[in-house]
């Protein structure tokens, strides 16, 4: 009997969703548009970096390293000078982004026992760009160094791990997992909040609560169709990322889908809670934006690295579900790792899902309403 009730309710939800063609079309196309827009617009990888070189005594090593920089395709040498004071004005005028300063006798030191020293000066007026330039430069130097030492049977240098999972430093690779989180949040939290608060606003929820349907069934009925939609969205986003940006997928698709479901449940529960605490569709929509969308975009590490947030803010990100999901999605997609490496993050999401779902069901007990 109960099963029939739930079935009837889910059929009704599906009809609502399928009948509203405009919303459905937007929801289905959203991941595609977002992946393409974010992929092109929100790049944090930097191209055409202007390099100034200070080389007091050019030798085989300094010239080889300079060539390494230019042949990486990201650097253009804008100036070569013998002393640093010639380079300084380039920096001040903003004509150089990074300066590479070799100590005199760099090549000799490389073969000797003394370390060969060089200075990397980066224009960090935009800290994010500065960090990226620094990473690129270090990658070039590290590659050169490791080639040198391996040629002579020497020791490898540890710099390699830094860009290992994203060797070309394509930022789109990092964004796609974040985008999946964002799309899931949107479909799950926002749409559930809207659809439930609509029932509340129109008075139909009251009729449902008086019926033999249990609150948990109402929530399942609301959540399940959107879970299906979220599922379709993940697949669209992945496909778009793969076709348009050739984003690699190194891990298990099934694991990612499973994690996406857990993350969706977290968001859906948030949507239900928001609807329970707001009295109109409009309020629910704004609340969902504020409580779920903004943190998912800004505090999840999707765009701004959590490591570079101020000390008081980074612990706050721990309560943002997207933060955990993004670690998981990046791990699976870019590193190809599985549960043995991601169980902690997964556990956090599962616990969040359970706690929030329980709270959501509670919030719909009519006696508390």
């Amino acid at each position: 009997m109960n099963r029939g009730a739930l079935r009837a309710f889910i059929v009704k939800e599906l009809r609502h969703i399928l009948r509203d063609r405009q919303t459905l079309t937007i929801l289905l196309l959203m991941p595609l548009v977002q992946v393409v827009l974010f992929g092109f617009a929100l790049r944090s990888d930097v191209r055409d970096i202007r390099l100034a070189v200070v080389d007091a005594s050019p030798d085989y090593a300094t010239i080889a390293l300079r060539q390494r920089f230019t042949s990486s395709g990201r650097f253009t040498v804008v100036a070569v000078a013998r002393t640093r004071d010639v380079i300084e004005p380039f920096f001040r005028r903003g004509e150089a982004d990074v300066a590479l300063v070799f100590e005199p006798g760099f090549g000799e030191h490389l073969t000797g026992t003394e370390p060969a020293r060089l200075l990397l000066a980066v224009d960090a007026s935009d800290p994010n760009t500065g960090t990226v330039i620094q990473s690129y430069s270090r990658a070039v130097i590290a590659a050169y160094e490791s080639d040198l030492s391996s040629g002579r049977g020497g020791v490898q240098i540890a710099m390699e791990t830094r860009m290992r999972f994203n060797p070309t430093l394509e930022s789109v690779n990092l964004f796609v997992p974040g985008l999946i989180a964002l799309v899931l949040t949107l479909v799950s939290a926002l749409m559930t909040a809207i659809s439930l608060s609509r029932e509340k606003e129109r008075g139909t929820l009251e009729v449902l609560l008086v019926s033999p349907l249990r609150p948990i069934q109402i929530i399942i009925g609301k959540v399940l169709p959107y879970l299906g939609l979220a599922f379709a969205n993940v697949l669209t986003a992945l496909l778009a990322a793969w076709l348009v940006f050739h984003v690699p997928f190194r891990g298990s698709v099934l694991l990612l889908l499973a994690e996406s479901i857990v993350y969706s449940l977290v968001s859906l529960a948030l949507g239900v809670l928001i609807a329970a605490r707001t009295s109109s569709q409009r309020a629910a929509m704004l609340a969902a934006m504020l409580v779920t969308m903004l943190p998912s975009a800004l505090l999840s590490g999707m765009i701004f690295p959590i490591a570079s947030m101020p000390g008081w803010l980074s612990p706050v990100t721990n309560i943002v579900p997207a933060r955990w999901f993004i670690v998981i999605a990046r791990g699976i997609m870019l590193k190809g790792v599985g549960l043995p490496y991601l169980w902690r993050e997964s556990l956090v999401l599962v616990v969040m899902a359970l706690v929030l779902m329980a709270a959501a069901v509670r919030s719909f007990k009519p006696r508390l309403a």
Binding site: M1, E206, V207, P212, L213, A369
Partner: protein, 251 residues
């Protein structure tokens, strides 16, 4: 007339009370409704009618007192009550973006009817309302009167023992109101108890018995004829005005 059959009470409320903080919305109301009765639950806006209904259908828990609906306790046996009642809220309770048939299917399903039952009852329901040709139309496209009649029929689809109607005729034209009351009588004739709130006093005359709530208390209770005799007036409307005036004076 139906007050004689006390043995079978559809609703039995004793000293039912609901407080919201300092405010007492429902103040020790005691009344009963016999099976098959059409019971009018009257009162001005804010008198506590809707709160009382919400307690009876299980949307709110009473602060004090007790009530049994269809023989079940409103505190402890809500699940059983829900299977035995129909409810039509003040606001339109069908889905405008679903068709007439889909709405019927939904409520039939929620109340645990089998697919065959739903199919059979849909045919009967549509025929009796003259909506057979509109079965595939979106409910949102129907005139208000039709919507209300449909909502009532849908609330009766699972053949509940008691149906609660919270101001079912608000904003409906007089002819449709008339037709609506015919539907109510038909339901009562089939043995369904009808508990209806209204603020149209002419409708009160159609009820077997009425109660009038003033400031959370039941100020009058009886058949329309009894109340008119008690207050020495010719219409329920006058009874109501007398009670309301008394309340204003005492306040």
């Amino acid at each position: 007339m139906t007050t004689s059959s006390r043995s079978e009470l559809a609703i039995d409320a004793k000293a039912l009370t609901k407080r919201f903080g300092e405010f007492t919305a429902v103040d020790h109301i005691t009344f009963d409704v016999g099976a098959g009765e059409v019971f009018g639950f009257l009162g001005a806006n804010g008198a506590g009618k809707t709160t009382a209904i919400k307690i009876l259908v299980g949307l709110l828990a009473p602060t004090e007192g007790e009530a049994r609906v269809a023989g079940f306790d409103v505190r402890t046996e809500r699940a059983r009550i829900r299977r035995n009642i129909g409810y039509m809220s003040q606001r339109f309770s069908l889905y405008s973006d679903l068709t007439v048939r889909e709405n019927i299917q939904l409520y039939g399903g929620i109340y645990g009817l089998t697919d065959t039952q739903i199919r059979d009852r849909t045919v009967v329901l549509l025929e009796s309302l003259g909506l057979t040709s509109s079965a595939g139309d979106l409910v949102g496209s129907l005139p208000l009167g039709w919507k209300q009649k449909l909502a009532f029929s849908v609330a009766l689809l699972h053949e509940p023992k008691i149906v609660f109607l919270d101001e079912p005729t608000g904003g409906v034209d007089p002819i449709t109101r008339r037709q609506f009351w015919e539907q109510i009588y038909q339901a009562a004739a089939r043995g369904t108890t009808v508990f209806v709130t209204t603020h149209y006093m002419d409708e009160a005359e159609y009820c077997d018995r009425i109660s009038i709530m003033v400031d959370g208390k039941i100020a009058a209770l009886g058949t329309p004829a009894e109340l008119k005799a008690q207050f020495g007036v010719t219409s329920v409307d006058d009874v109501f005005v007398k009670l309301a005036r008394a309340a204003t004076v005492s306040a």
